[in-house]
Amino acid sequence: MNRTLLYVIGGLMLAGIIHITSVLMVPLFATADAWSQMRQFGRDGAFHVLPQARPGAEPLDGLDPRMLYSVCRFSLADGPLQISAALPDSFWSIAVFDRRGRNAYSLNDRAAERSELDLVIITPVQMAQLRQDPPEALETAIVVELPLDTGFALIRVFVSDDTMLPRARAALDSAECSNAI
């Protein structure tokens, strides 16, 4: 009797451990996560405008068909990342995700209080080094300290109707994402 109880308790504890480990392991082995899917759009370190989401042709899951998106996979290993773009004033926002698809930072055009997007993503270590002698680019930009090694940025621009599409596309084509600093 006692022994059976021991097995039940031990079994439940083991089940709990297996449950927690497998949930935590899922992102490490996922092959269809956003980062992996974005490889198809082009090289890292540059923005790529996604085709507009249409029935049967959605570039990524859960995209809003009324938005035009551009994505950039980046690495902070070679220095801070500078993101710049001249975007239309209807509505736009940018989100920065880590390698596992966790949202690390996001901002919309009103919060940015400007139509020119100028964002610098920098690791705390790089920030500490740059504080000695801050380059000019850091003075005008929105500087965001994030403890990331790799990740991706996603810009979305509202397209109210199809006549606005060329403008939105041109704006997103101008978007840059580089380790220039």
Binding site: H19, S22, S36, A53, D64, M67, G101
Partner: protein, 190 residues
């Protein structure tokens, strides 16, 4: 020999329970931090750095990109006011007001979250193009048949869901008690 067999059985059962509950929890997703207004649900945590491991696992599996807290919040509804699942052969009225937002879009998806093709080439509406009543409220008619006013056509889906994305909304920093979502009222079915 007997204890060894017992331990082996216990381990196998434990692994089975652990793996299946993990799978269920990740597939169902959004167990924590769910915000509910009427029949509409949203998970603001999913788009924040503090997303729980279940949300992170689910996002990794689907590749879906949640709206960040600084961008907005997406609400989903898959049942009508009576609690019945939204069916593609019925007509529904999405009637009322949305919470405060600078811009919103309402989009219809099938059960698996895919956009649905229809002859009218329309998958949704946004807040700057719908017809409104004088008090600012609106009535969007989701139906397989042609409707006057704001008609959102659906075709060929047994079940569907609606996603209301509120862009630049104060809801991302907490749910005000007085926020209301539009009602989802079923009319007739074919």
């Amino acid at each position: 020999m007997r204890p060894l067999i017992d331990i082996a059985i216990a381990i196998v059962i434990a692994a089975g329970i652990g793996l299946s509950t993990a799978w269920l929890a990740v597939e169902r997703g959004n167990i924590f931090g769910l915000v509910r207004i009427g029949d509409w649900t949203a998970s603001p945590e999913a788009g924040s750095p503090g997303a729980d491991p279940y949300a992170v696992a689910r996002l990794a599996r689907t590749g879906e990109l949640p709206l960040g807290a600084g961008e907005g919040l997406a609400f989903t509804v898959s049942v009508d006011a009576d609690g019945d699942p939204l069916a593609g052969n019925c007509t529904y009225h999405i009637d009322g007001q949305t919470p405060a937002a600078r811009l919103w879009t309402l989009t219809a998806y099938d059960q698996d979250g895919r956009l649905m093709a229809n002859a009218a080439q329309r998958q949704g509406f946004h807040s700057r193009e719908i017809l409104r009543r004088t008090d600012g409220s609106f009535d969007i008619v989701v139906s397989p048949d042609v409707q006057p006013g704001n008609w959102l056509p659906i075709a060929g889906a047994e079940r569907f869901k609606l996603v209301l994305r509120l862009y630049d909304t104060p809801l991302t920093t907490g749910t005000p008690a007085d926020s209301t979502m539009p009602d989802v009222r079923r009319e007739q079915c074919r």
